[in-house]
């Protein structure tokens, strides 16, 4: 018996619903425009003819079973895949209209504009303050007052300020997992990126910490573009505006989250959403 499962959606304001509808028609600002992306680890092809558009100031979720390529795809967006030996990338990835895999494209600028939060929180073994100002210092900021302001701003953006403002000089490794992850987000925001990539940011955290971070995402999306990889479908449903379903290195379907979860166009998507596999 076939049933299309409607997942319970949290309430969204009417304003947002209207906005969503309007977007579908108007040409929105594209942060990333990916066309025919193919990625090979040696002989193994991890991404096959991926086409996708990522819109500014939206949360785009990438879902799919383990090993389907969503994390690999995420890492092409800030060229973290460059670190891996034997990797080959074909196709076009444009960020703000420019090909980021062009030799002439400045990698450092890309990474400044496109930040990343990792699955396992990885604060440096330095103080909370030092963790956050690391990025700005690298990019040339030396003014202490400005740096202090950055620390305060970003910690407030991740709702961590009140918890740590009295112990900024203590080691970051003394924080709880959830706090560490929020610190990592703050550290990422300190360099004023335009896009924040998140690779399963809450999978290593407990439910309370997870919900705190999910709560941040909507606010953050007002200022930044967010792309989040998650293996937790409910999470994707909760936090994202757009969802893209990956399977075995291919993008099966990308659409408004509401549509993907209530009325997907592709049967494979439906099978995944309803839990028939994955």
């Amino acid at each position: 018996m076939e049933q299309t499962v409607k997942l319970a959606m949290p309430e969204r304001s009417q304003e947002q619903a209207a906005r969503k509808a309007a977007e579908e028609k108007a040409g929105m600002e594209k942060k990333f425009d990916i066309k025919k992306l193919n990625l090979f680890y040696g002989a193994f092809q991890a991404l096959i003819d991926v086409d996708m558009e990522i819109y500014a100031n939206r949360v785009t979720a990438l879902i799919g079973p383990s090993g389907c390529g969503k994390s690999t795809f995420l890492r092409t967006l800030n060229r973290m895949n460059d670190l891996i030996e034997g990797i080959r990338i074909e196709g076009s990835i444009q960020f703000d209209g420019q090909e980021i895999y062009d030799r002439s494209y400045d990698l450092i600028t890309l990474r400044k504009k496109v930040g990343m939060v990792f699955q396992k929180p990885n604060p440096f073994p330095k103080s909370i303050y030092e963790n956050i100002v690391y990025g700005p210092r690298i990019h040339g900021e030396k003014d202490k007052t400005k740096l202090d302001a950055i620390v305060e701003r970003t910690l407030k953006e991740v709702a961590l300020w009140d918890e740590v403002k009295d112990r900024l000089d203590r080691s970051a490794t003394g924080l709880s997992g959830g706090q560490q992850q929020r610190l990592c987000i703050a550290r990422c925001l300190a360099v004023e990126p335009e896009v924040v990539l998140m690779d399963e940011p809450t999978s290593a955290l407990d439910p309370v910490a997870t919900s705190k971070i999910e709560g941040l995402l909507e606010q953050l999306s007002e200022k930044y573009t967010i792309v989040i990889v998650t293996h937790n479908m409910q999470q994707a449903g909760r936090v994202s505006d757009y969802t893209s379903f990956f399977l075995s290195g291919k993008v099966i379907e990308t659409d408004l989250t509401e549509k993907i979860f209530s009325n997907p166009s592709n049967k494979k998507t439906e099978d995944y959403i309803t839990g028939r596999f994955g």
């Binding site: 600028t109 040339g140 900021e141 004023e192």
Partner: protein
């Protein structure tokens, strides 16, 4: 970071990168250069003087002429004594650490002292060897005094190498043997140790290398007699000590370079052998 001039920043970073990699490359190159120069220089000047006469004749006129036969023999005797004593003790110690002990206070203390032993400078061993073996036990300056002292020095090397090797043997081998009814000791001797042959061999080779190169401790315990040793209680000279004597007294440039070159060749052989075994083990 508005207001920060990114082009200027890029140039500053480029310059800093250049300095950083430049300095590192320079220092690494210098290090390699030192190695090549030291080995090359001695081999170039010394190899030519190593011939059959050098290896087979006894030294004459305090080493100015002739060969270093008795010195070679002395080296072999002293090294052999130290290996024969240190190897079983070293292997047994390693077996104790990995097979018999539980990580408790006693083990920690014993381990600590093994590390301490490894860090004691050779001259202190020399002083001890003199005070204990030569004088207190009355063995005099002899092969046995030197061999015993040397065995204490190379013990940590053998223990460490054997222990590393024992650790790589999977628990499943031991469990399999015990479940068939073998005793612990039988398991160790028939199953575990045979797997460790390469590792123990490496330890042995490294120990030999250390023993052959040792000078200060030998000087104070074996003496420096150039006569062919005929018993364990005879004094003798090792190659390292002979090199020191020749070099410090300036007796014969040729013989000095030749002795040094011979030592270098032995070191090269030992190092290569240890590396090859290491490759086979996969630890390289």
């Amino acid at each position: 970071m508005s207001g920060v001039n990114t082009d200027r920043l890029k140039r500053k970073k480029s310059a800093a990168n250049g300095v950083f990699y430049g300095v590192i490359g320079l220092l690494a190159a210098l290090t390699l250069a030192c190695l090549i120069i030291i080995i090359g220089f001695i081999l170039v000047r010394g190899l030519g003087n190593i011939n059959w006469e050098f290896l087979s004749q006894e030294p004459r006129r305090m080493g100015r002429e002739g060969g270093i036969f008795s010195v070679i023999v002395g080296t072999i005797w002293v090294t052999l004594v130290s290996i024969v004593i240190a190897t079983p003790i070293g292997i047994a110690s390693a077996i104790y650490f990995t097979e018999y002990s539980k990580e408790g206070r006693l083990v920690k203390i014993i381990r600590f002292f093994t590390e301490v032993l490894a860090g004691i400078p050779s001259i202190i061993f020399g002083l001890f060897g003199f005070a204990f073996f030569v004088v207190f036990l009355g063995m005099g300056w002899s092969v046995i005094s030197g061999g015993l002292t040397l065995s204490m020095m190379i013990l940590p090397t053998l223990t460490r190498a054997t222990e590393e090797s024992l650790k790589t043997v999977p628990m499943s081998y031991r469990e399999g043997s015990l479940s068939l009814g073998a005793t612990k000791w039988q398991t160790i001797v028939k199953v575990v140790l045979p797997c460790c042959r390469p590792g123990i061999l490496t330890g042995l080779i490294l120990g030999i290398g250390r023993a052959i190169g040792e000078t200060a401790a030998i000087m104070l315990t074996v003496g420096g007699s150039l006569r062919l040793p005929s018993s364990l209680f005879d004094s003798t000279r090792t190659m390292a000590v002979h090199l020191y004597m020749l070099a410090s007294e300036g007796l014969s440039e040729e013989k000095t370079y030749a002795t040094a070159a011979l030592l270098i060749i032995i070191v090269l052989i030992i190092n290569t052998a240890a590396n090859l075994i290491g490759k086979k083990l996969g630890t390289l």
